[in-house]
Symmetry: none
Subunit: 210 residues, 4 copies
């Protein structure tokens, strides 16, 4: 009893994330410019003015959406990479599965689409995203590729470029889901999609016997 904080206080602390979450949905759906703060407020169940108790401006809210959505990500992946003991390809599988569970299946899955759509209008934020998300994600994939090439499991490929090619289908999957997937006839089954991607990777990366 005594260690339960009063609801008002709990609300105060929870508010910023509630507002960010509401904003994320709308930014992903409509883009930054086309999203009205009134709609964000309404979705969060507060008034327009309340947003300004927690964020200085629409732009500050946008930054918080990205930064907050980015925080919980990519930490576990780094641990997975450092602890892994099996084959390089198994590591790759684990990393992609982890990303899928932590991002692809959560509400943060809309962030890649949002960042690609808005990065030119928010260059500093794009840079921040690159440093804190993309670079770290790529490093994880790099560790698997390097391990596989070093052990002879994978063929010799340019690491940096291969990273791009490996992660592109996965990014495209979530981008697609938050964009064209609203059209008829464009449904994609993520399970099957990932299965095919992994199949192609498994065989594509495998060192060709001489």
């Amino acid at each position: 009893m005594s260690n339960i904080s009063p609801p008002r206080k709990r609300r105060k602390e929870a508010r910023p994330s509630e507002l960010s979450a509401a904003a994320l949905d709308l930014f992903v759906e409509k883009g930054f410019a086309a999203t009205r703060l009134e709609d964000v407020a309404q979705r969060a169940g507060v008034s327009k003015g309340t947003l300004y108790l927690y964020f200085d401006s629409k732009e500050a809210l946008f930054k918080s959406v990205i930064e907050d959505g980015v925080v919980p990500v990519l930490v576990e992946g780094e641990e997975i990479a450092s602890r892994h003991e099996g084959s390089a390809f198994e590591l790759l599988e684990k990393l992609l599965a982890n990303w899928w569970a932590g991002i692809g299946e959560t509400s943060f899955a809309g962030i890649p689409k949002l960042m690609t759509a808005e990065s030119r209008n928010f260059p500093e934020l794009a840079q921040f995203y690159y440093e804190n998300v993309i670079r770290r994600g790529r490093a994880q994939v790099a560790s698997a590729l390097e391990r596989g090439i070093a052990s002879g499991e994978f063929r010799k490929l340019d690491i940096e470029t291969t990273i791009d090619v490996v992660i592109a289908p996965i990014l495209m999957l979530v981008i697609w889901r938050y964009s064209m997937a609203c059209c008829q006839g464009t449904q994609v089954d993520p399970q099957q999609y990932m299965a095919v991607h992994l199949t192609l990777l498994r065989e594509g990366l495998k060192r060709t016997q001489v």
Copy 2:
């Protein structure tokens, strides 16, 4: 005689596409909502009012940008597919090279980013784009995959899903170029990227010898 027209007339007929071209750049850079018609007009060297002589509204201009950008595409690809006589993988290579030459290297390369960013705000346009671009592009890839599977050159894979996985890296390449590529440290070399992608595909699609 036939290919010479008076400059005045040529100008008049060319206006709409000049305006569309100017608009494409800005829509790709800023998104639909954040693009100001004043800037479009200025880039095209006309006044704001002139835009309305050719387009009913900002939305109509946007549709024209997409539709104009779509017209010259994918026609040649279909001919390539129907005339092809070599291996299935060679066909795939030709198709991707054709797309790259006709879209990836032109100013239309920004359209995929634009469509993913705006499709939810323009569902009918997204549907149109899907029917006229995506479906046809996928059909071309499908014809190569089907041919390869039928001949035993490719392993058996779900066609629709494999199409997705095959084209995703290419779409991602151009999306990247018009978004995060503005950041430092994010440069991608398209030649090398395509080379790696094709390598992985070649080996990944190849039927595993029993």
Copy 3:
């Protein structure tokens, strides 16, 4: 006993004037409309809500600022006028000195600027100020002028108009101090200013010898 009250109680009773005092500074500095209650509260060291325990509205606070600032004024001047026995000009000097000590040198000195800036937005308040401050101040000056004219010390001048001319430089002095005096090069020395003003008055009012 009589002059010691418990701090708690003193505080409670002192609150309204503390708040008025804080508000006066800001109203003088920024004007009524541009002053934010949040700033008033902060300067008084209370929360915004507390203001509403003592004042019904921003407008009520403004009225209180003026009315509070008006209370301690002009009482002594009337006594001075009624008790005076020397020359008319000496009375005039005493009255102006009294005003300067009671208003010109206190924090109430900003009120003339504030009233001139806001009187049109608060006509009833302006009327109140006129009745309770201006009219009484003018009456004091009038008594000195009348006495001097009656005794032949001063030349014959229209009393009402002369009052205006006599007090204008003094009002202007405090208005100036709270407005343009923030600029470089606009410093005025009140002592010297008053000395010159009195010199001009002494000679200007003196009846010309025939």
Copy 4:
């Protein structure tokens, strides 16, 4: 006929001053913060948006009001001072009469009140006003005082301070007119006011015979 520009053009050129004039009235009446641009637009007979064709912001409009109101002033005064040949006091009279005709009786007469009310919120503008109006006005009065003191017509007084005392009643007259004069019982007759002021000055400045 041929040298009459088309109405549209004439309007375009006349607009800024029309808007400034409308804004001056309202700024003087209500102050900067309390004046709504919608009211300014309405008084000028245009829409709110039109203001932004000519002024970047409310603050820019305010600056223009002051700067435009300042331009036509004080030029003639300087010529009067340089051409004058009579007594010093006659010069002083001419200068004050000129100021009255050029400012005191025009719609610019509200500017002194406006500047005193807002100078603290617009320090650079206040500085500009000081440099371009106040300093020049004071210099004109200074030239009359110096001439009178040098010739023995005036008593010896500190020039700078005397300037203040000489112009204060005149400034106060227009400030009063645009502020408290809205109250009952506060009417001032400018002619009589100036007459008394000049009488006091004439006798007050005059060198006392030894």
